[in-house]
Symmetry: C2
Subunit: 415 residues, 2 copies
């Protein structure tokens, strides 16, 4: 037997229906907020990802040469492709652009619970509106999506990476050392962060001030303690979030998101039920288009880890029942079989989900198949009924049967 590649998944019918259901909830919510869907290719020129994330990214992604010798990579995330598309094709479109996308991404990493080599992201970007309401809109959409999925237990944390960058810069951390240090702080690896800062001759008072700052986390009452422009910006953001009805939001200046291109507000949503790998959504404002050859444009976006949030819903016991058939049509004998095809065709044309026995089974076996297909009704096609232009309809849940005229069958089954 040929196996599927490691870290990938097949989605069988019940699971697929569940995923499509939740996917459509996300899509509908984004559309309610005035976002429009876009799609980019599964692979990009590798340069796109190294430009965004540095050359080391190649070690973690599926990158290869195509037959023309071009370096291409399966996309590890979707912000860079969407910004590439913006620079190439949408830079003259009216702003702000509010875009969303859903699709597979790929990382070559060790598969583990909730982490796959092929995984799914749902994301959104607002491009070209440099205001606090833009950040608020992105955060409001992220929360609305998570609520719409039905996740009950989640924590939404908002910070501002600009403040920390400025503080670190003021303490003598050079620009080229920033990304590494932010990554350590993001992962709360304080010993390693301390060593890095010591290497840049940051004083121990300075180091402690940094740690104190990133530990600043709690309710809106903390807002007054943040100085300068960033403090004013955050106060404005939080007041707009209130108008948006986003209430359960924490201020957390330790929300760092170790990515070099975030510039201002950053936010994360965690589902505590997931344990160590609990982040289900992350985003913030960034500048990326300049890096890709476009003009400098204020952008805010986020991505929801679709697989992980489905796992969180499962842990909360969220129920999803696949939709069964409306009717399963079966013949009592070979002589009435032709009519079973005629009848199932009539039902389908009327917009009913209907199936028919294709195996020439005896009635009892075909009835089992009807039950396995979760049909609401079985339509039994027998010679005596047919002589009176009727069929016998069995309600599968109760077992009740009654004769129904074929002329009334559609309306009977639709009721």
């Amino acid at each position: 037997m040929i196996q599927r590649p490691r870290g990938t998944r097949d989605f069988l019918p019940d699971e697929m229906e569940r995923r499509r259901h939740y996917e459509s909830l996300l899509r509908e919510t984004a559309q309610l907020y005035g976002f429009r869907e876009v799609a980019t290719p599964m692979f990009e020129n590798t340069e796109l990802f190294t430009t965004k994330s540095g050359p080391n990214i190649v070690d973690e992604i599926y990158s290869f040469q195509d037959k023309g010798g071009r370096e291409i990579s399966l996309r590890p995330e979707l912000t860079a492709p969407v910004m590439r598309m913006f620079v190439n094709e949408l830079s003259n479109a009216p702003r702000p652009l509010k875009l969303f996308y859903f699709g597979q991404c790929f990382r070559y990493e060790r598969p583990q619970s909730g982490r796959y080599r092929e995984f799914f992201q749902f994301g959104a970007e607002i491009i070209g509106a440099p205001t606090a309401e833009t950040d608020a809109e992105a955060i409001a959409l992220a929360e609305a999506m998570i609520k719409r999925l039905g996740l009950k237990n989640y924590v939404l944390r908002v910070g501002h990476i600009g403040i920390l960058r400025e503080k670190l810069s003021g303490l003598g951390v050079p620009q080229e050392g920033m990304a590494e240090l932010l990554q350590k702080l993001d992962k709360k690896l304080y010993d390693e962060a301390r060593s890095l800062m010591e290497a840049y001759d940051v004083s121990s008072e300075g180091i402690n001030a940094v740690f104190e700052f990133t530990a600043l986390s709690g309710g809106k009452d903390l807002l007054s303690r943040i100085e300068g422009e960033a403090g004013a910006y955050l106060r404005e953001l939080f007041s707009i979030l209130e108008l948006y009805g986003v209430e359960a939001v924490q201020l957390d200046l330790g929300t760092v998101r170790g990515l070099d291109y975030y510039t201002g507000v950053v936010f994360e949503v965690e589902a505590p039920s997931l344990g160590a790998e609990k982040q289900v959504c992350g985003g913030g404002s960034y500048t990326l288009s300049e890096l890709l050859g476009g003009e400098s444009v204020f952008s805010t976006g986020f991505a929801i880890g679709f697989d992980r949030i489905l796992l969180a819903l499962e842990k909360e016991g969220a129920n999803f029942s696949p939709q069964g058939l409306d009717a399963y049509v079966l013949a009592t004998a070979n002589e009435t079989r032709p009519d079973s095809f005629r009848i199932v065709t009539m039902l389908r044309k009327a917009g009913l989900r209907a199936d028919v026995d294709l195996m020439r089974r005896k009635l009892s076996k075909a009835m089992k198949q009807a039950a396995a297909s979760r049909a609401r009704y079985a339509v039994i096609v027998g010679a005596r009924d047919l002589a009176e232009n009727a069929g016998t309809v069995r309600e599968m849940s109760s077992g009740e049967q009654r004769r129904v005229s074929l002329d009334e069958l559609v309306s009977y089954l639709s009721a």
Copy 2:
């Protein structure tokens, strides 16, 4: 600027909405017919595709080594992955399995009109029901989908590759030469087919009989001229197709589909408006699971070339209008801006597609943005209206304005 890879596409909002619309029509139709969706990974072990199609397929697909040295390939089609999934995970499920799928496939070929390196297929398979009604069901679904999309001008042709294989075998064509010869016949390369047959010492009468046979094409009246089991099978199939309401179907024994694994009925749908590359759907019955390590199972399936059928719809002038916003909310001045966020949030929570000015624009500029977003209504939030708990609603198409109480805004905009 970093470009997207050659032969791939970005889908911008209007085009994406059109594609999602047609995709959902295909999905709904498959579900009406009792098919259920599945999904497989974007890449597979290369062995899967060489097992199905021979080692030469590697020249035409994106195949590469992953970092663990495994040979993997981006999927060039979806039947083999779905059958791999069937063998691995569904071989004990109740039969028949009726599965459908939609997704990207990849081929490394010269990009040209309607042919991309990344393209989209919608397909369906019925696994495990070795009957003529199974073939009929697949053909009926294919036609129903094409009709549901709204394609007017198409040709549905049905043949039987078993008859031709038998005939060629009887004339002395060896098994190992069959695939190449069938490919030539499929492409109507008669000179090359003649040379091949001559090399196998087929008599010139034999060769002419083959050409005459593959030229047999027309209405159902030809059915009586086909001998043997296959003739009886085709007559049965056509009579079931009639019960399914599939009328516009041609018998065409030249429908060969040059793939080694087709065994019986084969069918194709062409859109003549597309010129040389006119095939929009192809399928047939096949045995593939044995090749992949499973038991021998009768299967019938087809795939619709999604990109090509959209092109055919475009050529027929099919119209699709993107859905605009229900409302665009804008403030007359900064003092009423906070209320614009409160109001847009109320509309979105009520299930209306609503957007709001994020750019702090003056009224006239914001109104232009409302028009660009194809909103049905603009909701203008001014101080005087607000004092009376109201807003001014402007119908964008007529320009008519009226004051509406905020308590009645949702029902007013929903009407």
